[in-house]
Structures are given as C-alpha cells and as structure tokens.
Symmetry: C2
C-alpha cells in the first residue's frame, strides 16, 4: 500500500476513534453516577430489610430499554444483555452491603 | 410494617429509580451513537482489508478508561469488563461486515 494511502487510513481511523473516546468518557461518567445511586438504594434496602434483587422492576427496565433501543436503532438484544451485565454488578454490590450491614 | 412506612419506602425507592431510568436512557443513546461510529469503522476496515480487532488500540483504551474511572470513583475493574463487553460486540459486528463484504 503506498504511504500516502496509509496516512489517509490512519487519519480517518483516528478521527472515528476520537469520537469513540469521547463517548466512552461519557459512558464511564454516567455509569459512575448510576452506581452512586444504586449504592444508596443498596444501603436503603439493607436498612429496611428489603431483598437485593427485584424481578418485577427488572422486567419493567428490560421492556423499557428494548423500546428505547428500537427508537435509537440499537439492537434491543444487546441492550438487554447490557442491562443484565450492569444489574449483575449492582446485585453483587447490594449483597455485599447487606452482608456487611448484618455483621 | 405499618402502611405509612411502606409508603415512604416506595416513594424513596421510586425517586432513586427515576434517576436510574434517566441515566439508562442516556446510556442507551450514547451506546447507539457509539455503534453507529464502530459500524463506519467496520465498513472502512473491511474496504481497506484491515483486521477487525486491534490489540494495541484496545490496551490504550483500557488504560485510559481505568484512569477515568479512578477519577470518577468507579471500580476500574468493572470499567475494564464493561469495555471488553462492548468490544466483543463490536468485533462480532466487524466480522459480520467483513464476511458479507467479501461475498
């Protein structure tokens, strides 16, 4: 491949990657805020002796995110997997809060 | 538990959950934008016969997100798992684009 074509490819990919990096920084900061809230929920649930998981709420969240995803042209199956990935982490935190609160 | 205490708990949880729902809507829309860009990258890589994965770039992304996470008080291990979860999906898309482009 001639060097000038390689330069063009590098520039184009770099431009896309800058946008990805900006989006990733936003995602990380939104997730940090999300875990700050779920931390409070976890402490509140432990104090009031409520179970860490709530299947009814989870079903509602999945339905809502699937619908939002369709409108945003994002694969709803991916969004569901994404939410379950997050919820798994949240429940791990809640169980930890519960175990330390009951000691 | 007396009914008024149950009402208070429901109200407090509902308020937290509204914030979670707002954050989740933002996350879904940011992810939709992210996949729009990685779709373009995938098409560009397929056209220029570049491999779907880029380990060097991935290592740089992980380092950057771990640092951002520390500043945002988010568990860096979680952020790394999160990025790998997203990248796995992106590579799946890129391989699909590559396979359909070469047909």
């Amino acid at each position: 491949m001639p060097p000038f074509v390689e330069d063009d490819i590098a520039k184009i990919l770099e431009s896309y990657r800058q946008s990805i990096d900006n989006i990733d920084a936003s995602l990380i900061h939104m997730l940090a805020e999300r875990f700050k809230i779920t931390q409070k929920i976890g402490e509140y649930k432990a104090k009031n002796d409520l179970p860490p998981a709530d299947k009814h709420r989870e079903i509602h969240q999945i339905e809502r995110l699937r619908e939002l995803s369709l409108n945003a042209k994002l694969d709803p199956d991916f969004s569901e997997k994404f939410l379950q990935f997050i919820i798994k982490e949240v429940i791990r935190h809640h169980e930890y809060i519960r175990s330390t609160a009951s000691q």
